[in-house]
Symmetry: C2
């Protein structure tokens, strides 16, 4: 596994792969890798000749009051984990100064309701940072396919919309959420949890499972489902950021559930904000 | 000369050129071509294996009160002019509906003072439209070099900044202003001028020449130069939008002229707004 930190070198490396006729699968990450990230690597390796993973803790997607400084940065462990897969050809690990040099001022922004709902309601500049850095990474690596986790469903749908609007030829592949045995969705932020908090955390997934059951039993009123989910999460005395049921893909609100539906929740366990979701096809 | 209207077909055509090892020179235009555009084509043909020209009258860079509808659209004449050069391999002429389909919502924006000064002061959303459409065209054609006219110097510098910020590998080449014999800078908007207005129009260039002379004679105070230019332009009773002397490249205001300086003017002749500029290296 080659490790590249220079943007120019990364661009040249990717260009050389393309010139040789290799397809490129790209997995953008912020590091603090876990089995969820590795599932993206596996998917990329299965569909492309070469796999490029980026580790870049993107300051542009954190607001000043968020956890940029506290975010785990176990780079050596990450590198070892990627090497162990034997499926990564190149790790791109640029410095923040190179990605955002002095005087940096260009942003790629989706300007519709998709960025204001769900996580966007409490993180108003977050997705602007995400769409900007991913556009930059696409310009540098020019992959055939990009691998995104359903765990960050809103991010994935926003990136798909931006890539479509901006005419990027890259195909987005959304991979399923990977969970602990007790249902907790894998997240780099799970590392913040105390053992006690860790014990409460699976309630988020259980509330989603409950929503799935309610829908299977015929419930189509999003307000009733959201109310029950909130009640469930409150059993562990957790603070709810949001519980939502929206149209999957465009994240539009629904008066009555139908079609492909995204049920998503963001919950504070202490100071740690965790998100989870499920996508349900309603016939 | 191949004419392509489909975005997908354009992408495939450009990809095929790259796969064959050809370098691509790209000339983005809004049509209503004149010798200024042709000079960009000539420059592109001299430095690249293949030349792609786009004609796309970009609605996103016109505000509702501007001249989008009135803008000349002599497509047949444009095609003939491009064919006559024998240097254009492909004309890309997409439909507005394809470039901005229903629900389109992504914008690439330079968010610094470069977009607020000069033409940006009176056209606040103009450059957002320019940087968005050119980013899209770069994603579709992925050229080695893009050719921009110095006539739209602010646009050229803004695009260079965006391409650098966004890590596009494309090199920008800025080509000199092409002028009529009496000094009027070629512009598609010159077609709006009545014969009488056309007679006044060269005063803009003469005011720039006067600025050049003043600088050559040692004047370094931008206020004095701007005042004299305004006085000169007023000789023809024209309405001045702006006369500015700024640092070339980053468009920063200057208290004292030094280094590479952009002297630029925007003037209304009747309802027609014309721009012109000169770039001067001060030792």
């Amino acid at each position: 596994m080659k490790i590249i930190t220079s943007i120019d070198e990364m661009r040249q490396y990717a260009a050389k792969l393309r010139k040789r006729g290799h397809t490129i699968g790209f997995v953008p990450t912020m590091g603090a890798l876990h089995a969820g990230h590795i599932s993206l690597v596996e998917a990329a390796a299965g569909e492309n000749d070469r796999v490029i993973v980026s580790i870049f803790l993107n300051p542009a997607q954190f607001s000043p009051n968020e956890d940029l400084d506290a975010y785990p940065k176990p780079l050596k462990k990450d590198i070892k984990m990627l090497r162990t897969t034997k499926k990564v050809d190149c790790l791109f690990n640029p410095a923040a100064n190179d990605v955002y040099p002095d005087g940096y001022a260009t942003y790629v922004e989706l300007q519709n309701s998709m960025v204001n709902c769900l996580c966007g309601a409490t993180r108003p500049t977050h997705f602007k940072g995400v769409t900007t850095v991913v556009s930059k990474l696409l310009n540098i690596t020019r992959p055939d396919r990009i691998y995104l986790g359903q765990k960050d469903a809103q991010q994935a749908f926003i990136l798909m919309k931006v890539m479509s609007d901006m005419n990027y030829p890259t195909t987005a592949v959304i991979c399923p959420i990977v969970r602990e045995k007790d249902g907790l969705a894998l997240s780099s932020r799970n590392a913040y949890l105390t053992p006690e908090q860790r014990n409460c955390a699976p309630i988020i997934y259980r509330s989603l499972q409950m929503a799935e059951s309610m829908i299977e039993l015929g419930e189509r009123d999003p307000e009733i489902i959201k109310k029950e989910m909130r009640r469930k999460i409150k059993e562990e005395n957790l603070e709810i950021d949001y519980v939502e049921a929206v149209s999957s893909g465009d994240l539009k609100p629904l008066e009555k559930l139908s079609g492909r539906v995204l049920i998503a929740a963001a919950v504070f366990i202490g100071k740690t904000r965790l998100i989870d979701n499920t996508i349900i096809d309603i016939q």
